[in-house]
Assembly symmetry: C2
Homo-oligomer: 591 residues x 2
């Protein structure tokens, strides 16, 4: 393969695109790999499409290697199957919905669980047909509230989605592990660092799920790791609750005036100054109970107020909150909500007046607490009166929550839930997600087969996704420097970038000869044969485009040599022009 | 490659799907290549996807061979570019439209002229950048009023669309011819018979256009051919109008009572009986002027009445009418239209009261005539009074039309417009369409480059489409018999279908050995290793699936032979089992 820059459909840009926040976005656009067509929607130019095809090929090969069979579903799908599983509604505004000319409802599929379930139901009827794992590499749609970071969070994107169908739980576990292994091989072959973390299932449903995260500071996902090997998406971290406390003999709750304490810090300072503990221990923010009022939006659009109580030294983590409430969403309550609910005294909310369990009133505002708020624990919290807080308010004695919720931020140093040591936090991009769905979809859509005894049994399923375009962006993130992209050889749009510099026809002839010789030996060559472009621009373009080996044919030719230099790490070497193709091929093979 | 039927995701069906009208649809579903997901929307199963990939590969190779560069556009696109060319409106109900969560208008692209134009505008600025031809193989959407015939007229389908950009008309001609040549090679390589016919440009706009039709009785397109080599889609046939006639001395028009003449035949009979011509010639249907009232629907939804006059021996051809009126559509006028326009006396409409030119009234109903209605021609037509017709009504003397329209049916025997002899009619499937768009899109979207003199000039464009999934269906139409599909080797999902019959483990061992030996030599093998399926079912499935060579390992094994038979045309041969792989490879190479 020989691409000539003189006619290749590419233009490099010196300026960063205005909307680009991250390197992959900036560089993929500047290097002419992709162009924005609409927010979160991109066009693939020739070089980008070549990289994408290579990433897809690795994914396909590893899917096939574990026996997954490729199919291809439409993107435009009727409403009914998604209605049967309630996802038509649960997806809320993330789903692109439309009507056809007969006024029938359609959607642009975000994932295809329903369709795969129906297809297997359509074709298969016996345990003898199972297990089967099907996959597709297909264009998906999600109407993201905030498309961002180029390909990392887009609205039209390529995904590999696979679905396994098994007769029993052991089969599902085996299918799940086969996909998990394939994912490890895919990301290893792509040269994409990954961490496997425990995850929540979100709108997908099901029991066990794990994410493959590519660790990077620009990642949208926060995950935790412990020295003992625990790893989880921050949404999936469970809090190690302290033991319940025997509150017999604890002081009775007492309301105190707490003027001028707009912050938890000022409240703690006042408490230590004016209401010290009997045992002399200092009050800390962790002794205060912060109550946060949220407006929960259910997928059907209805709203409900919710108050969440958590230790004052922790913030609400919105992503953990969202995962805990999914498929509902939540936002901070507004002034209108407070106005309509005079029981909520802004800044002085306490649980004494909250919760259905506590008040015995089914219409009361629900009150959920962080797992650290155990029975017997004692708190400083709002007294539901302007300027006043209550001290020594004991959980289980003075108030009862309607349940617990995992929405407090996870902090570095928190204990791993499995006792494997203190957690450290890091950020990553979700590049894969595997789910044990169980029987949710099969139940909803009636996928049963005859078992060995001739009895109808519901099939158990797994679903397995790789964000293909997102993985490509992660590769760009992991492989660039300030000058441009620097692709690993196996996904680079070409192996060798030949640059002819100057105006000497002999240079162009020699470069042409080398380019053709390499191309004839199956080396993929990008040849910068542009006649009137300065060496400086050509070198800058080579660095921006990121082909792993750069061959410069120029002034050295007078001495019978060309220069070969790796795009990153490694010295330029002079190679006699006659040996150039052979030497370069060896270097390509060593990449 | 070795696929085993024991676990391949395929189920053959004995029954035809209820909605299948044509063989390709029936057989592709029955053989488990595709499944219907919604009207006109199909899922590709593993075997279908293999054939599709092979067809796409041929298309890609020939595109690249003429220097076209592959890109990939989104399917989900913003309204604005399509608004600029008016296609947002012109596409009418054929366009899938939707809104995103911010209430912005989007569409699912039916073709991508606008986006390619904008992309080239975005990247290129000089004549030195041209010519360039770009293509994509991409999923397209069209909300067909009547999706039918499986993949032949679908609502989601794969298309190869290419676009050329040139500085001048000569460049466009060269780019057009390069694509035309590539199309010939693609269809030749696919083994798909084709006819290139002159075509109309329809909603696409532009000047010259040609269609590649695959001749088949089930085709939706009618085309004509002459002995002298003229070929055209029936919509593009222009009528050879007779010379104008000197009507000096022609009899004056006279109204006659014509009771009981509900048909043209009865009118002609009455005319010959009661009002014979002075010169003794018989009246024929061709002497009557039939006036058809149509309700024209403009893309913006407004309606307008139109009367079309044509010789009584011809019907209105709705597809020619549609092409003539595009982007407007037309349907027969309804009773309400007649009620609102008392000037139209149903069954007795004559042009004396019609037309803006004739009546001088800008609000009058427009009146267009077939080109055969030349100045001086004389007609029997309605007298705009119940039970009466007018005789000897002369065009240009007694009425004037507002123009001509090509909407009369073309009949076998009509003269070719280029004088190359009488036309014959045939039917075909449109598998390719190439357009010289000219500057329509570049003008609308401001695509200009600097010419050699530093002056801004508008780029001229071509657009070139192949219905990839439709071509696959055409291949299935052309290659089947009553028993099933019969793929040409280069697009078949496998080269060899190995069938192991009976229960003897030795048979399965031998079959396995052959299948593996072939697969190791890059022969693509489908191996029917199902243990409990009868030979009859296996043979029927082999015939239905349509792999070109069938190898039967069964009873012959006792005599040391296996049987190799071509799926169609050719004798079964017995081959010693030891020589089987070698002999079969030779037969595959000869396919």
């Amino acid at each position: 393969m020989l691409l000539r820059l003189s006619n290749l459909f590419v233009r490099t840009l010196r300026e960063d695109p205005a909307d680009a926040e991250v390197a992959s976005h900036r560089l993929l656009v500047r290097a002419g790999y992709i162009r924005r067509a609409a927010p979160g929607i991109y066009t693939w130019l020739p070089l980008g499409l070549r990289v994408l095809a290579k990433v897809e090929a690795v994914v396909r090969e590893e899917m096939q290697a574990v026996g997954a069979q490729e199919v291809h579903f439409p993107a435009l799908l009727p409403r009914e199957p998604y209605e049967a599983t309630n996802r038509w509604t649960e997806y809320g505004p993330n789903l692109f919905r439309l009507k056809d000319r007969r006024d029938n409802d359609y959607l642009l599929a975000p994932t295809h669980e329903e369709m795969f379930t129906l297809l297997v139901k359509d074709l298969y009827s016996s345990y003898k047909d199972l297990p089967v794992t099907l996959f597709q590499v297909q264009t998906k749609y999600r109407d993201e509230a905030r498309p961002r970071a180029g390909l990392i969070r887009g609205r039209e994107f390529v995904m590999k989605d696979a679905y396994s169908f098994d007769i029993d739980d052991a089969g599902l576990e085996a299918s799940y592990l086969a996909q998990r292994g394939a994912y490890e091989r895919i990301f290893t072959r792509l040269g994409l660092e990954y961490v496997i973390v425990a995850a929540t299932s979100g709108a997908m449903g099901g029991s066990r799920s794990e994410e493959f995260l590519h660790p990077t500071a620009i990642g949208e996902d926060t995950f935790v790791r412990s020295p003992g090997g625990y790893a989880a998406n921050v949404e999936a971290v469970t809090t190690t609750a302290p033991a319940e406390i025997d509150a017999t003999g604890a002081p009775a709750a007492h309301v105190e005036a707490t003027p001028d304490t707009p912050t938890i810090e000022s409240l703690v300072a006042l408490a230590n100054a004016e209401h010290p503990r009997a045992d002399g221990r200092e009050w800390t923010a962790a002794d205060t109970l912060k109550n946060v009022v949220l407006s929960v939006v259910h997928p059907d659009g209805t709203r409900e107020l919710l108050v969440v109580g958590l230790p004052g030294d922790r913030e609400v983590d919105l992503k953990r909150l969202e995962a805990a409430l999914a498929p509902a969403e939540a936002e901070p309550a507004g002034d209108g909500d407070f106005a309509k609910n005079p029981v909520l005294v802004k800044g002085y909310i306490g649980p004494q007046v909250l919760g259905r369990a506590h008040t015995g009133d089914d219409t009361a505002i629900r009150y959920l607490v962080d797992p650290r708020v155990v029975t017997g624990s004692s708190w400083i919290t709002g007294a539901n009166e302007q300027g006043k807080h209550v001290f020594d308010l004991v959980a289980g004695r003075d108030f009862v929550a309607d349940g617990t919720i995992e929405c407090a931020e996870v902090k570095a140093g928190d204990p791993a839930p499995d006792g494997s040591g203190p957690l450290e936090l890091a950020r990553g991009i979700e590049i894969g997600h595997i789910f044990q769905l169980g029987r949710k979809y099969a139940d909803a859509l009636g996928l049963k087969v005859l078992d060995v005894n001739g009895k109808q049994v519901t099939v158990t399923m797994g679903s397995y996704g790789i964000g293909v375009t997102r993985a490509l962006a992660a590769l760009a993130e992991a492989n660039h420097d300030e000058k441009g992209l620097a692709w690993p050889a196996h996904v680079a749009p070409a192996h060798v970038h030949v640059v002819a510099t100057g105006k000497d026809p002999a240079v162009f002839e020699a470069a042409e000869t080398i380019a053709q010789a390499l191309s004839a030996q199956r080396v993929e060559v990008l040849y910068d044969d542009r006649p009137k472009v300065s060496p400086g621009v050509k070198f800058a373009d080579a660095e921006l485009l990121g082909v792993p080996l750069v061959v410069v044919v120029g002034r050295g030719l007078a001495d019978g040599v060309v220069e070969v230099r790796p795009r990153v790490g490694g010295e330029a070497v002079s190679v006699p022009v006659a040996e150039a193709p052979e030497r370069i091929i060896a270097m390509v093979e060593a990449l």
